[in-house]
């Protein structure tokens, strides 16, 4: 298409030149006839893009001090939704609703099967804490934004099933590290105390250890980055219950700790006719799906909590419950160590290691039967006739699948 004919008297075709001048930084092109380069004229799309950037998108360019700043928190005209509400009304109205939902959740806890209600309660607790902080700040005379609702934490407004979830604050990480490393408490106990999943406790300790090593070595930490990022994302605060000012408060729970993985065997729908008189329990339901499927009470990460509550129902006193729980823990630990030792002993008996200067020779018993009936099983040892190695072939992936820690 030839370049459009343009008269120098009319620099723009737009009906509203003032709006264009505002929104577009770069000047409109000067006509260069016979040019082969593409037309650099400001198109409708580009105009809209800049209009959006300078209008609704402007608020997203810089972080909002003391809050997250996601697209979901704004309406389509670029107004902060929670900023419009009168500050007097906000703390009062949701509080009533929250109290109601809290009571409801408390009442339902014993009834509902899923812990999802409790997951919602986590968020409520977090928001409640933030609200209290806001209230205390307000007393000091600092005006701040109301805390975020679930919609405000959506970076992608169209996806209602994703929201930015809080991360651990610095103090909470340090507290977990001290709890596990200094006080020598177990990981499950830390998980229950701080409301953080088992894996996360381990990861926090590992990362903190690296951080402390860096300090000992004198390596510079990325502090400015760390501070900025923790300002941008929502964080779970640490409430030190030992302090007198926090008396009567409960620590904020970070995430649900008893997540039951949906087992592939349970994905199908089953119709199992059962006599009305039969006592059909969770265990029986599990058996109906798969004979080896354990019941949910044993597949969750903290089965010990269930046992403690069962003791409570059975009418044991506080002291008895504690001793029983400790006994169970000790038994489990003994079993584990015994199994580990047995494994080690077995290895010692079957493996013979001859240390060399650089590499060790390891001798271990193998069986011809390992190759399987057709001789093609991957468990077989050594080169077998008719089974060439594939590793030098084109297209074989050589990316490692695991790295030893």
């Amino acid at each position: 298409m030839p370049p459009r004919l343009r008269s120098p008297n009319f620099p723009s075709v737009s009906s509203c030149p003032s709006a264009r001048a505002q929104s577009i930084a770069q000047p409109a092109r000067t006509a260069r006839d016979f040019s082969q380069s593409s037309c650099r004229q400001v198109t409708l799309r580009r105009r809209k893009f800049y209009e959006w950037l300078n209008g609704p998108g402007r608020a997203l360019k810089q972080p909002l001090p003391g809050s997250t700043n996601y697209l979901g928190a704004y309406d389509k005209f670029g107004n902060l939704v929670r900023g419009n509400v009168a500050p007097e009304k906000t703390p009062k109205k949701p509080k009533e609703g929250e109290a109601a939902t809290k009571e409801g959740a408390e009442g339902e806890v014993a009834v509902t099967a899923e812990g999802q209600e409790s997951a919602d309660a986590l968020d409520d607790a977090l928001r409640q804490h933030e609200k209290e902080e806001q209230a205390s700040k307000k007393k000091d005379g600092v005006q701040k934004l109301p805390p975020e609702t679930a919609e405000d934490l959506r970076p992608f407004p169209l996806n209602r099933f994703f929201r930015s979830q809080p991360v651990l604050s610095e103090e909470l990480r340090e507290a977990i590290y001290q709890f596990v490393v200094k006080e020598g408490k177990t990981v499950p106990l830390a998980s229950i105390t701080f409301g953080v999943s088992n894996e996360r406790v381990g990861a926090v300790v590992r990362l903190k250890q690296v951080e402390k090593q860096w300090i000992a070595q004198g390596k510079t930490l990325a502090m400015p980055y760390s501070k900025a990022v923790l300002e941008l994302v929502p964080t779970t605060p640490y409430i030190d219950t030992s302090l007198p000012k926090n008396a009567g408060k409960r620590p904020v729970v970070h995430e649900p700790i008893n997540d039951l993985i949906v087992h592939p065997a349970t994905r199908q729908q089953l119709f199992v006719p059962v006599a009305e008189s039969r006592h059909f329990t969770r265990e029986d339901a599990g058996k109906a799906f798969d004979n080896n499927l354990l019941p949910a009470d044993e597949r969750i990460p903290h089965p010990e909590l269930v046992k403690v509550v069962r003791d409570e129902i059975a009418g044991f006193s506080n002291e008895e419950r504690r001793t029983r729980a400790e006994q169970r823990y000790r038994d489990a630990m003994e079993e584990k160590t015994a199994a580990e030792e047995a494994k080690k002993l077995h290895e010692l008996q079957t493996k013979k290691i001859v240390p060399q200067r650089r590499w060790d020779f390891v001798f271990q018993d193998v069986s011809v039967e390992d190759a399987g009936r057709d001789g093609r099983s991957h468990k077989g040892v050594g080169w077998r006739y008719g089974l060439p190695h594939q590793d030098r072939k084109k297209g074989q992936v050589k990316i490692p699948t695991q790295v030893e820690a």
Binding site: R173, V210, K212, Q213, M223, V233, L260, F280, A296, V403
Partner: protein
Amino acid sequence: MRKKPRFHSLKKLKVRQDWSRWSLYSISQLRAPNTGTKTYFQQKWTAKSDTRAYHGEQIREKKWKRLFRRNLPAVVPMDHRYLARYDGSEQAAGRGAGADSSEKERQPMQTPYMQMAYYPIERRLDTAIFRALFASSVRQARQFVVHGLVRVNGKKMPYPGYMLNPGDMFQVEPSSVMFATGARKERSSTARKIVKEKAAERAKAREENPVPAHNPKEKTTTVATRAEPTPKELKEHMQSLMLDVENVLAEEVGAKDKQKFRAFRQTVRKAVSLWGKATPETVSTLDAQFTFLKDALNARRAELAPTAEEEPTPMMSPEDQKKLSDAFEKLKLEHDHISTWNKRDASAPYATPWRPRDYMAAFAFIPRYLEVNQNVCAAVYLRHPVARPGLAEVPTPFHIETGQLAFNWYLRRR
């Protein structure tokens, strides 16, 4: 050959995995899929092309097809009190539709499986680095990996397609992270001049006095082989250590002269290495070093005391211990001060003092399957992303119907 389309095209709006204003604009312009006027094939095609422009755009289609899994992982949070109180038979009570109840039971929330179609891609190293907020786009994260700036479990990993296993720790060079996430540098002529002058100075200094090839390791290894130091050596070391302690305590935190802090750090290392039984792993943190020194010296005194009764001089008096711990505290403070100090630095490749880049706030979120420590720019991949009632952990900007259509595209064999 056909011209490659623009990465950020306004004509065909695609959301990309980066923190650019174009991505933000496209996210704001996204709509639910048009199911009214399009055939099912067209709907699936559009959904696939839109979602693939975001998820693993750097991976070839064939590769992604092999990664695709039709089984999507999910979890259900359980309440241990419920599990203890009920054995599940109450759900099987009644007949057919279940036991009669006057009140309506609350429906559990929907588990958004369909937003999880691209969960295998979140396992890739480059994507995980982007999700941990260490790079401003997946392509940049990929470049970091390829350039050898990323370690997995402490070992260099140059493959961006490495599939992280639960429990893997990955680290990115902090200076690169600060460059990737920091505001861009305005290149002024003065800044350029300063950098050039500094480089010239350095070159000159190097020419004037070439570094002598000394070998400090030799000494330490010979010392380290011994299990117990002689009392004389110990005394000398103690004296030099205490001298350094005095120096450090006299020094101001944030002073320009860092030499005394550095010297203290070195003497501590030497004092620790004097005892052969200490491995670098056991005394890696300052607290561990302090407790190690204290315990080692105390044990030594307990041994010496019965033999030399006339001279019960403790190796480390309580006052000295106090001073040593104070010095360690000061060392920590000083280090904190240096790390926090966001100074103007012409040689840095990002705008100084450091601040987050434009539009970063709108994209800053860390999914729950990662645990990130921003101070050391390291993160642990805890588990695979899962769907739970009301929440999908794979960050995707699309509508759930788009996700469903895309999932169906890959489900089908055509």
